[in-house]
């Protein structure tokens, strides 16, 4: 397998401004365990040439464990639920829910992964919460210098990403 192309991007801002969006790859939800939030760990074939399989799979697996932690039903969540009910849910004016705390951790993790792993490969992970937890969007960027790959789906994404 040819090595993934190296992009001289050291931060995400550079990536966004200097590269052009070629396509977006979507990692769908995995509903085999019910309605809990899980993403498929199946590696999308479009990214074969861009990133090593294990890296992306690790990221998705870590995110899945984060979501599982957020939605875990155990002593802590029951305590929080009962306390909130007893205070007629007014307590959430001052306090964040456990889920929201985990979501913050997740967004920090995704930011870190983007900076360390994905931006150097010309990819960008979008936090699933920005897509309504439906998909994990991986934006694939092409260096502006190279001949633009066909903007096939970019008939739709053109308006959003082209600058």
């Amino acid at each position: 397998m040819p090595p993934p192309p190296q992009f001289p991007f050291h931060n995400l801002q550079e990536l966004r401004h200097s590269a052009s969006l070629a396509t977006k790859v979507f990692i769908q939800r995995d509903y085999s365990e019910g309605t809990v939030c899980r993403f498929q760990t199946k590696f999308p074939s479009e990214l074969d040439s861009r990133i090593e399989r294990t890296l992306l799979e690790d990221t998705v697996k870590t995110l899945n464990t984060y979501y599982a932690e957020a939605e875990k039903m155990g002593g802590q969540s029951y305590m929080e639920g009962c306390l909130a009910c007893a205070t007629a849910y007014i307590i959430f004016l001052c306090m964040e829910t456990h889920y929201e705390k985990v979501l913050k951790k997740i967004s920090g993790y995704i930011q870190e992964q983007n900076e360390k792993i994905y931006a150097p490969r010309g990819l960008l992970l979008t936090d699933p919460i920005e897509r309504g937890m439906r998909v994990m969007e991986v934006s694939v960027f092409e260096d502006r210098g190279s001949s633009g790959s066909s903007l096939s789906s970019s008939a739709t994404s053109g308006g959003s990403a082209q600058r």
Partner: protein
Amino acid sequence: MHLGLDEPVRECQYNQICTRNSSPMETLSHKKKRTPRRKWQIFPGRNRFYCNGRVMMARQTGVFYLTLVLIMVTSGLFFAFDCPFLASNLTPAIPVIGGVLFLFVLGMLLRASFSDPGVLPRATPDEAADLERQMDAANGSSGPGYRPPPRIREVVINGQTVKLKYCFTCKIFRPPRASHCSLCDNCVERFDHHCPWVGNCVGKRNYRFFYLFILSLSFLTIFIFAFVITHVILRSNRSGFLNALKDSPASVLEVVVCFFSVWSIVGLSGFHTYLISSNQTTNEDIKGSWSTKRAKNNYNPYSYGNVLTNCCAALCGPLHPSLIDRRGFIQPDTPQPLSHSNGSGLYPSTQNHTHMAAATPLLHSDPVMMGRAGPPPSGKTSLGGPCSSLAPSQPSLPSSMPGLGCAGDMLTLRDPDAHCHHHHFVSPEEMPSPLGPSSLVLPFAAHGGHLNPAQLYDPASQDSLHEDSVRGLVKLSSV
């Protein structure tokens, strides 16, 4: 975002902005220059937002105000006329308990009504296009054996096969237990039903508030009923029955209201207690999704097995955050979801226009046409005929459901012709989502499989709105 009760009361100016208003573009663009706009202002569903996006309700709120009035008037009369007597003759704990109950009821009602029930945001144009491509690829390839049509995905959950349906309005495959509410025009996660009394859908995020509301309202109703009767009896002992009624005329009204409410509210509470303990939604129960009448080995894959865990999960489980970020500011470079489902031309902002023109998937253009243009032209797909004949029929609710407080009223509240937007295409599952018994649940798959893509490329019969979409589609398909 925290949906506190105090926050909106303190600082809201009731800007009632109906997102479906055809606000002229000049006002919108004028506003855009001045203030950054928030996402609720371009929300595609049929919801109303108040207090700058903090409060979210359904479009029809008349019955909600009736609920509020009934509760407040009855309780007010109780506190004003019965409590003084009871406090002095029995115990002052009565008004205190009554007060606590009343505040709890009100709090839960407002929380259930004002919060996001778990609306799934619509797909961005990129996602929709990606899904369309996958479905086309699946449609085109032929293989031996049974394969579900591309608009249905099957997933095995806990040993039970569950079908995930594609929502034409939201352009997504609905997660399990989600359903599309035709009144609010949104897909809602763990959709229970649309409650007109609460003025909102009841879904994943506000089900516990709804349940606590009806439970506490049952207690309050029984409480008021019991103590008003006690009051009248005590007075009658002193001065005779007729004099007692003359001294406290409000008691008669309270007794009447409470008497009629008790049957429906207590019945509804009982029904929902049953649903919670078996981890089902009203939608699933009405459709009989997990009943053994459908299949011998049918069981509910979401149930945890025992009643206590099911109850804890429903009431004390983690509170999921809202997915629609109503109060976030619109970023100029983020993709906005497709916001029209019925071709009535909602163009909330200029950047959406290009998305919609280019990206309306081919599968949508025909059904929308059907809805608007009356009888579908012959030579169109088989989707049109049988579905349109089914659409107006009113389902009958199964008699097994007691206390039809909420569900019963949904039938009367459906005014199909009042809104022009109602003519958007609904699949048989989509339309009477809380109402449809199994007879209406068509094998939609059968129709989906008959779609002939060639028939949809008929630009001449599209109206101008869809000409753009078709051009965009042709572009898409030619790549």
